[in-house]
Amino acid sequence: MDPVIQTHEMSCRFDRVEAVRNLTLEVPAGCIYAFLGANGAGKTTTIKTLLNLIQPRSGTARVLGVDSTRLGPPELARIGYVSENQELPERLTVKQLIAYCRSLYATWDDSLCLRLTEKFALPMDRPLKGFSRGMKIKAALLVSLAYRPELLLMDEPFSGLDPLVRDDLVQGMLELSDQESWTVFISSHDIDEVERLADQVGMIDNGILTLSESADSLRTRFRRVDAIFAEGVAPTPASFQDVLSSEISGSSVRWIENHYTNDEELGARIKSQLPGCKAWTSSPLPLRDIFVSLTRAQRAVPPVPPV
């Protein structure tokens, strides 16, 4: 099956700032892809390029098999978009917004719309202008899901929302994901929320994609290792050059292992490379810590000047 999103060496530039550099990624159909990055990393630019709101300076992006620069109403009818930056028609009530969007989509599903309206508990007869941020995001999500899009693009949907609203949104998405055969591309820096949803994870920093792989593989590959060394044989930082990050405190060391396969293999490696190690334990790493470690490691490497 063709990937739903495919970019090849895609770069976007605003004046002198290169927002996205040579981005190459594929999002397979049916997966929930979390696109993680710090503020200003290039997430929004990537999503806007995918939606043909911005044209790439070089390289290509294909969405639903169509070049992003040729994306038009037929493709937009198959794509849902929710963004913290989107300007909703705020003078409309939810009821009027639903009526408006209903006429735009041939695949509009009234029963799903009703279900979502009840789930999000939105007041139908109040203009969106008076809504809180969370309610606006819910309204945007409602009119982006009710036509059963094949691809849902979400740009920082959880930003600035309280935990209850976040939970509502995540629960709603999870419920729908069980029933729908859609692809979701969600950009966020709220990694804890995204972790519950994601099948695939991509990380971007300073416009460069630093990682793109399945969430399961990430959770397996990255481990936190705590080790205790015998007195007088404390390791030096040079011993941990190949790992993502390390903290040495007296005779104990904590590092992040990024090539973990199993405890036997890791034990053998520690024994051969760190002979002074008395005991060690490894524990899984949350996505947030993986992101922080990877981003720090990336930033520690001096940037390659653009050619």
Binding site: L51, P73, A99, Y100, L104, Y105
Partner: protein
Amino acid sequence: MKIVLAQFRKDIQCQRQPLILWVICLALGVIPFAIIETLKHWHHIHPAPVDFSDTQKIVGALSFVAIFTMCMFAAAFGMFLFVPILVIRIVHEDTLMGTTAFWLTRPVPRAKLLLAKTLFIAILLLPLILGAQMNAHVGEGQFWLAETAWIAAVAALASITPGVQPFLGYGAAFLFGKVIFSGIIDKLWGYYYGADSAFSQWMAQHYSSVGQLLHLSTADLFHLCYLIGFSAVFIHQYLTLRTRKSLAFFILTLVAVGLLQMFASPLADSSSGPVFHIETNSSHTP
């Protein structure tokens, strides 16, 4: 058509309050004419003069003048203030600039959006055109053409600006810019070719001929040129979203028609001034 109507309905819902005010103003504008028609009708049924006292006559006349003035002010307010405001609001409601507008990520073809907005503007202009059809001319020339050209300029400028503040800024810059530009050209021309030489009798005659063909005065011909130019900017911006090009077309329209006005009319840049009638051989032209 379904999308056009949905968009049109959405625009009405979004602009409900100013639309209601606009309708009230128009209704008030109709009142004096309704009173006159009723009085005519009443006089027709009861031809015998009614015996009013002098005080009653004065009070009646004063009340009528007050009602008439108030209603005409309301109508003018609706026509000249609410129509441009509504036009700016409906264009900015689905802004054509930036990347955050709701419609940009929805399956709304640009041509249909343009059609819906044009339909809305046409309805706003309908009372004016109907009034013109009923021979309600104001001043010399065809007043509705000047007003339509003015609204086209407002719509075109709104389509190339992201909000009200930039609209006002650009609007003021263009108004002053046009006056300054005309003045500079006039002075330069006068410096090199002598005073009043910018006006060309030859050009004026041609203008008058074209105007006669279209049954328009020279001033109205300029309004028609402005209307065509600004409508082209509006359509171009909606269909291409190329704001810089549209802005260039907008300036080009202002400059080109401004120069034509300057060279074909004895009063430089005076589209609203008195119409100059050519007395020479204009009657011989077809």
